[in-house]
């Protein structure tokens, strides 16, 4: 007993034994793979299939089902690609001698198509299919790219799902060969596109031609063929044009990437040199560690840019780094990532513990009913540079603006200032030391209190995210005036209502009630 299948070969329906079908499929796969690069691929393979059908019909006679014998006989008559190699006819493709050698070894190099790769899949084989398409040896790069794109905006996930849905899976042997195909470069990109166009236009024109043959001539078929021919010509001109522009355009992108790499490198090195005197504030006990971290960052991003630039030149000129070089550089790159992780862990350890010191200052000097409150926002001049207006660098100190100002209801009779000096550190003792080292000085003069909106970290100590929280306690019944004509940035205040805001009313006087601050002379809601 043998299972049978129904097939359509060259327009003729056949009933065929399953083992015979398997044999036939394998044979046709090799034929397709063999001719895929030749001009007239469609026509040749169709003709061969049509002829196979005829041979079957002749071999069958009165019988109904195609058996293995008919397939084998037909193959002997048609010949396999190995037989073609020994024949005088040779498809006019450059380097065909070399290609035949490879074909004998069973390694067909064919026109390239995008597939999902079921042999090497993490999720759906999309990445490794893309890697195969672009001739990248390791799909890891494409996966990293997808992860990067996913992290930096989440676009990676829908892109992956769409590709998963639309890309066919490489199921047959010839699919897999087509997936790898020959490397795409400037010299053949035009041809590959032309082949695809021919593939389509041929289908259409063949359809028209067949119609003509069967109906004894038809204007429609002719017209269709002319249109397709015209479209094909226009496309081939376009393809030619693009293949001419392709090279300078890619070259430009490659050059820009390499330039970006150089610029970032120079900027990084200059920055490191410039920043060197201040590195001590940030580095764990030893400044080399943070320098190392900066170096790692430069290498990691620099090499990505550089390899992007280089792979474009590779695409253009086929130049390839030797395997050992690539392995070495990849290893170096991975080493840098490991090193950076190490540095970051080391640095993170320095921030792992938090401690604070509380100071309480009774403002007994202020006896007047109203306290004039001022904020000193004038960071000392002659800073060398600053980071984002938050951290200012001087020759003898750094200055941070990480100061929280709050106004709260107080107990008792007098005004009180509470200061909490905070810092992080490798351990509690160190964090406490650093908190104690914060240089934050309130000024009391007559009935005025001036709080700076910044504090100093003297040179010789570390920056470990120090901060100051200053809370002014106003007893119920007494007043506070926000003295000055610039806006006040108060982080939190006990107020009766959200509006009016202190921020909108510089110069206003407020009274502390049981419910909180109440504005006496606010003009803006």
């Amino acid at each position: 007993m043998n299972k049978v299948q129904q097939i359509n070969l060259g327009g003729v329906p056949f009933t065929i034994d399953e083992d015979a079908l398997e044999h036939l499929t394998r044979y046709l796969d090799t034929i397709h793979a063999h001719f895929r690069q030749s001009g007239g691929y469609e026509e040749i393979t169709q003709d061969i299939e049509a002829r196979m059908a005829e041979l079957f019909l002749e071999g069958l006679g009165q019988r109904e089902i195609v058996a293995l014998k008919e397939v084998e006989d037909a193959i002997v008559i048609m010949g396999t690609p190995e037989d073609f190699g020994a024949e005088p006819i040779d498809e006019p493709v450059a380097g065909s001698e070399q290609r035949r050698e490879r074909e004998r070894a069973g390694d067909y190099r064919t026109g390239r198509r995008l597939f999902r790769n079921p042999d090497d899949e993490t999720i759906g084989g999309v990445c490794s299919g893309i890697a195969a398409y672009f001739g990248i040896n390791d799909p890891l790069w494409i996966r990293l790219l997808f992860i990067l794109v996913t992290i930096s905006g989440g676009f990676g996930v829908p892109a992956y799902l769409i590709l998963w849905a639309i890309l066919p899976k490489a199921e047959t042997a010839s699919d897999r060969l087509a997936m790898r195909g020959e490397p795409i470069n400037v010299s053949n990109i035009g041809r590959i596109i032309e082949e695809e166009v021919e593939h389509i236009s041929h289908k259409v024109s063949e359809f028209g031609g067949k119609k003509k043959g069967q109906n004894g001539g038809g204007a429609l078929g002719d017209l269709l063929r002319q249109i397709v021919g015209f479209v094909g010509k226009v496309l081939s001109v376009l393809v030619h044009l693009i293949s001419q522009l392709w090279k300078p355009l890619l070259l430009l992108i490659g050059a820009l990437l390499i330039l970006a790499f150089l610029v970032s490198w120079v900027a990084g090195v200059t920055g490191a040199v410039f920043f060197w005197p201040y590195l001590d504030y940030f580095s764990p006990d030893w400044p080399m560690v943070s320098l190392m971290g900066a170096f790692n960052v430069l290498i990691i991003f620099g090499m990505v840019l550089l390899s992007a630039g280089l792979s474009i030149t590779r695409l253009l000129y086929g130049t390839r780094m030797s395997r050992s070089w690539r392995a070495g550089l990849t290893g170096f790159w991975i080493l840098n990532i490991i090193s950076l992780i190490g540095v970051l862990t080391f640095v993170a350890r320095d921030f792992s513990n938090e401690a604070h010191i509380d100071r309480r200052i009774e403002l007994t000097g202020i006896t007047a009913d109203t306290l004039n409150f001022r904020i000193d926002e004038s960071v000392p001049a002659n800073d060398q540079f600053n980071i984002d207006g938050a951290l200012f660098f001087y020759s003898d100190a750094i200055v941070s603006d990480n100061v929280d100002l709050e106004i709260r209801k107080g107990e008792g009779e007098g005004f009180t200032l509470e200061e909490r000096l905070e810092s992080r550190g490798t351990n509690l003792a160190m964090a406490e030391d650093l908190a104690a080292g914060i240089d934050y000085q309130e000024q009391v003069a007559a009935d005025a209190l001036t709080l700076p909106s910044y504090f100093r970290i003297p040179s010789g100590t570390k920056w470990r995210a120090q901060g100051v929280r200053a809370i002014l306690r106003v007893p119920v019944g007494r007043h506070i005036r926000f003295d000055g004509d610039t806006r006040f940035y108060i982080d939190d205040a006990d107020k009766v209502e959200y509006r009016p805001r202190i921020y909108d009313n510089p110069g206003s006087t407020w009274q502390m009630t049981e419910e909180g601050l109440l504005c006496l002379d606010c003009t803006k809601e």
Partner: protein
């Protein structure tokens, strides 16, 4: 090793010789009457120019693309319509030139090889 190399070289030479005349023969066959590929193959097989049919189709496709051959669809009493190849005007002129070259080539080869004594 040496003998094997020589054998390979000889095979290549034979292949090149056949390749040189194959187009000529196909064009000649198609110039006599409208020909179905298997007819062409039958003639070529008789003269040992090709062995398997599969090799003829790429050649026909190329000659057609070069405008030397054209084909028409003919109804067949078994199976789908068949392609019948015939020579074009361009093809005929091309063939005549080729035949002239072939004639003088045969003369030249005959002349160079006529007095060979194999037993020497």
């Amino acid at each position: 090793m040496k003998a094997k190399d020589l054998d390979k070289t000889r095979q290549q030479l034979v292949r090149q010789m056949r390749r040189g005349v194959l187009e000529l023969c196909v064009l000649a066959i198609a110039s006599k009457k409208e020909a179905y590929p298997s007819d062409i193959i039958a003639e070529l097989k008789a003269s040992e120019l090709i062995v398997v049919e599969g090799t003829l189709y790429p050649l026909l496709s190329r000659l057609k693309d070069q405008g030397l051959l054209e084909y028409n669809w003919r109804e067949s009493n078994m199976g789908p319509p068949r392609k019948y190849y015939s020579i074009t005007e361009t093809g005929r002129a091309f063939l005549e030139e080729l035949l002239q070259t072939w004639g003088s080539l045969v003369q030249a080869v005959d002349h160079s090889t006529q007095n060979i004594n194999y037993n020497e």
